[in-house]
Symmetry: C2
Subunit: 181 residues, 2 copies
């Protein structure tokens, strides 16, 4: 699942010196010298790999991939699961509140809510204090889905990061939150 962002791996350097290029032709009437050509065997991505942002993105994509695969079993996109999970934890939440939490624009939220409603996971009731808004609630099927999907997601993540110690996992969580909070 790509996303307008680099994903590299290699580290070995087997290419010509960085920035090396054919010398500029000085004379005006001379025949241009044939430009040098190289073949790259091992791609060197050392600069990108030195960036925290690059590594954070790759790690994120890796875990998101695990989530995507896990949610395929429920025929849910990640954003759809997130929506249901939030409604599950916040009965009566409004469309706007979901938009803010999920960083989805209101026009794009409409369809998602409609799909989840048509699939029988969501229902809408009037908001107790705001006549413009609608509160969202899980149906029984929605609650069952969330109650099944959440622990499964948690388990698939645990399996994916099991090569890190519990201390490392906690450390990573703390550092990540320190980064964006």
């Amino acid at each position: 699942m790509p996303a307008h962002q680099p994903v590299g791996t290699s580290t070995t350097k087997a290419t010509p010196a960085r920035g090396k290029r054919a010398p500029k032709d000085a004379g005006q009437q001379e025949t241009a010298p044939a430009a040098e050509v190289f073949a790259v065997d091992q791609v060197n991505a050392s600069f990108l790999e030195s960036l925290l942002g690059y590594n954070a993105r790759r790690a994120s994509l890796s875990l998101v991939g695990v989530f995507v695969k896990c949610m395929e079993g429920f025929d849910l996109k990640i954003v759809e699961f997130s929506l249901l999970s939030l409604v599950g934890g916040n009965p009566g939440i409004t469309s706007r509140q979901l938009c803010q939490q999920l960083d989805v624009l209101p026009p794009n939220m409409v369809g998602m809510i409609e799909v989840m409603t048509r699939r029988g996971f969501l229902e809408r009731r009037p908001h107790p204090r705001d006549g413009r808004a609608m509160g969202l609630y899980l149906t029984e099927a929605g609650r069952a889905l969330v109650d099944q999907a959440e622990p499964q997601l948690k388990a698939s993540e645990s399996a994916a990061v099991s090569h890190l110690s519990v201390e490392e996992q906690q450390q990573l969580l703390n550092l990540l939150q320190k980064l964006y909070r």
Copy 2:
């Protein structure tokens, strides 16, 4: 910069008990009782926030945002900078190799290379050993751009994570790489 993935913040819980919902109507001919309605003040995203993947994504988005802003000064998208940086470090790299590194499909790479070429940052020369392929090289303007952009990116990231100690930054880098490598 959204992206099919949740972005939440709140932690406080000021909503009804999780999963609470109106009792099911038992009788068949009875009038259905009015469903309970709630208002959510503080959104509770505690489950999502417990996931490493969620936190990794939020941290990643935060840093990518810094990169995007930084590269706007060069009128470059992140993927375009990454492309130029890779060509800079790998003179003669092919389109296919870039596709693999950047996780971009070949048909979608064509336009990027064309744009960077038209803007005078890239040039294409025949591949020394493969008549089907073309090697990519930075022009002088391209080299100048990369040599200016790379340290600027590095600096903007450093500023963005300056509230972490150098040890924490190194620790985070190691843990992130452990996660996806």
